[in-house]
Symmetry: C2
Subunit: 150 residues, 2 copies
C-alpha cells in the first residue's frame, strides 16, 4: 500500500471513533517490510473509562500483546493527530521506528511542541517523525466533531 | 493512615514487582477523605508485554474502571519513583489532585526534569507535587535490583 493508504486506514479508525462519540483520532501500526497491518485502533477513552485509551496506546498495547514483547522495533505508526506527551513517551518506550502523523496539535501535542518528548534525554529512543500528512482531512474531522458538540 | 504509611504501601507494591522480575516501582491511589486505598499496582511491563504497564498507569486504569470514569478528581497518587513523561501525562489526563513520589529519576523522569509535563501549557491539569518522600528506601530498592541484574 502507498503512504496515503496507511493514513487512510488511520483516518477510517478516527471516523469510527467519532461515530462512537469519542474524539476522532485513529492510529495503525504497519510493518513496512511487506506492508502488513499489525494493529488498528481509535480513541476509546469514554467507552473504556480509561484516560490512557488513546488510539496510539491501544494500537501499541494490541501489537505488543500479539508480539509477546513490550517492544515493536521496525514498526511504523500512522496516526491522524500529533501524539500527546503520554503517547509520544509510549512510542519511545516501545521502540517504534517511524511516526507519521496528520494534523499538528498545538493544544495537546507533545512531539513538536510543549514536552517535545523525542528531544529529551530522558526519552530512550528517537523514532523518525514525519508530520503534516493528509493534515487537512484529519483537522477537518476534529473540527466538525467539536463543532457538533457545541 | 499517616503519610509514611501510604508510601509504605507503594513500597510494598514495588518490592512485589521486583520479586516478579519487574523494575521495582509501585504506586497506590488514595482517597484523602477517609484515607481509602482505591488502587494499588506494581510495574508489570514484562509480565503483560505492555510498555505502558507502569505502576502509575495500572493504578490509574484500575481506579478509573472502578469509578466508571476516565477522571479521578480528588485522589492522591503515591509512587516510589518520579513518574516518567508517559505517566505524568496520564496523571494530568486523569485529573489526580496530588502526586507524592519518593526517588527522583534523572534517567527517565518527566516531572522535575526533561519533559517537565506539568509545566507545559499542553498539560490540561496541574496536580500538587511533593517529591523526595522516603526517597532513600525507594532508591536503594532500585539500586539493589539493577545491581543483581549485572
Amino acid at each position: 500500500m502507498a503512504f496515503k493508504s496507511y493514513m487512510g486506514l488511520a483516518m477510517r479508525a478516527a471516523r469510527e471513533a467519532g461515530q462512537r462519540g469519542e474524539t476522532p483520532v485513529g492510529a495503525v501500526l504497519i510493518d513496512p517490510k511487506g506492508g502488513r497491518l499489525v494493529a488498528e485502533a481509535g480513541n476509546r477513552v469514554r467507552e473504556l473509562s480509561d484516560p490512557t485509551a488513546h488510539a496510539e496506546i491501544l494500537a501499541i498495547r494490541a501489537a505488543c500483546a500479539a508480539a509477546g514483547s513490550p517492544r515493536l522495533p521496525g514498526l511504523d505508526l500512522w496516526v491522524t493527530l500529533e501524539p500527546c506527551a503520554m503517547c509520544a513517551a509510549a512510542i519511545a518506550a516501545s521502540r517504534i521506528a517511524r511516526v507519521y502523523y496528520a494534523a499538528p496539535d498545538p493544544k495537546s501535542g507533545g512531539v513538536e511542541q510543549g514536552a517535545r518528548i523525542f528531544s529529551q534525554s530522558q526519552s530512550h529512543h528517537t523514532p523518525e517523525v514525519y508530520g503534516g500528512i493528509e493534515a487537512a482531512e484529519a483537522a477537518q474531522l476534529l473540527q466538525d466533531f467539536f463543532a457538533a458538540l457545541r
